[in-house]
Symmetry: C2
Subunit: 218 residues, 2 copies
Amino acid sequence: MFTLSEENYLKAIYHLEIDTEKGISTNAIAEQLATKASSVTDMIKKLSDKKVVVYKKYKGVKLTDLGKKIAANIVRKHRLWEVFLVEKLNFSWDEVHDVAEQLEHIKSPKLINQLDALLGFPTHDPHGDPIPDKDGNLKTIDKSLLSTLSKNEIGICVGVDDSSSEFLQFLDKKGITLGKQITVLEKEDFDDSLSIEVEGKKLSISNKIANNLYIKKQ
Amino acid sequence: MFTLSEENYLKAIYHLEIDTEKGISTNAIAEQLATKASSVTDMIKKLSDKKVVVYKKYKGVKLTDLGKKIAANIVRKHRLWEVFLVEKLNFSWDEVHDVAEQLEHIKSPKLINQLDALLGFPTHDPHGDPIPDKDGNLKTIDKSLLSTLSKNEIGICVGVDDSSSEFLQFLDKKGITLGKQITVLEKEDFDDSLSIEVEGKKLSISNKIANNLYIKKQ
DNA sequence: ATTTATTTTTAGTCAAGACTAAAAATTTAA
DNA sequence: TTAAATTTTTAGTCTTGACTAAAAATAAAT
C-alpha cells in the first residue's frame, strides 16, 4: 500500500515520463510537486525500496512496470472522477482538477469499477485526456495542435494541453469547448496568430492559444 | 482547516456526545479511535487551541458550537456518500462504511451540495441514520428498538444500532432490510427472544438482534 | 480518612515527510 | 583538461501524530 505522498510522487514521475524516454531528474520532480530536490531524493529511496522506481544516484529515476501500473491507476481514478464531476454533478471543466486531486486517492476497486460503469466507460476526461484502462493502457487518438493546421483546414476540438482554469475559462468565454468544429480562416505570419471560425463566429486567436488546443483533423 | 486526524477526533467526540451530556473522557475517545489515551491528550490540546473543544485537565472534553458544526458536516458527508454508493453504485449496505470513511474527508462544498441534489436531498443513510443538514441539524424520527415492542405490535424497520457488516449481512440473509414491515408474533420470557413475521415469513430472533434493530411503530 | 485502584497527563521516543545549508558528483565551458 | 556552474545528495532539524513508561490526579473502597 502507498501513502498519499508516495502516490503523488508516482503520478508526477508518470506525467514527466510521457514526454521523454530518459530518466526523470530530481529537480524535475521537485518542480512538478512544488517541493525541494532534497525531499525528492529521500522519497525516491523509499520508492526504490518498494520496487516502483529504479534509481541510480545522480542519474534520474524511471518507473518500473509495477510503478507504471500503480501510477496509471491513479491517473485513471483522477480522470474518471473528473468525468463524474462534469457529467453528474454539473461541474465545469475548469473546476474539476482540485477535487479530482483529492478523490484520486480513495482506495476501493469496486468504487472505481462501478463509477466507470455509471459513466458509460468513458475513454477521455473533460479536457480530452485519455483515461487509462484497468491495465494502464491509453487509447490515444491522433490529434494535432491547432497551431499546426494550415489555412482552410477544418478540425474538431478534442483536447487542451494546458488545463489551467484560466485557460479553460478563456476558452469558455470564446465559445470553444470539446467537440466544437474549428475552421482556420487565416494565418498571420508576423505573429503566428490565427483567424478561426467556431459555430459561425469569427475569432482571432494568438499563437499561445493555438499551441494549447488539440484538434482532430477531418 | 483541519487535518485528517483532527477531523477523525472531532467525529469521534461528536458520536460519543450523542449518548451523554457529560464531557467525553480521553479513554472513551481512545477506544473509539483505537489509539492510546496519551495520544488523545496531545490531540485534545491542539483542538482546544483551535477552539473546537473545551478542555479542562482531567475532566472530559466537549465540542464547542464550532466543533459541533464541523463534526456534523463530516458526518453529513459520510452519510451522503453512503447513500450515493448504495443508490448509484450498487453497493450493499454492509459495504459502504469503509469507503465513506475515506470520502468524508474530501473538501469541496460544491461537491457535497451537488451530490445532495443528485441524490434527491436524502434525510437518512442506508442504515437509517439521519443525515445532518448544512447547519448540522438532524431530523430525528421516533423509533424504538424491536426488543421494546409487545406481542402483536407491528412496525417498519427504519434503522440499525449496530452497523457492522456481520450484522447487516445477517439481516440480509433473514430478509430484513429498511422499509420492511415486522410483526411481533411472540415474546419468550426466559431468553427474551422474539418470534416475528417479515413478508409472510416467520423468523426466530434473539434478544441481541432485537436490541440492534430500530422500528417505527404503526 | 487513608489506602487502593483507575484515569489522565507528562516526559521522552519514533517514523514520515518536509526543509536548509553544506558537501559531493556531474556537466559545461574556457 | 582543468575551472566554473549546475545538479544531486548528505547531514542535521522541524512538525505531526503516534507510542511507552512513569508520574500525578481523581475516584473507589476499606
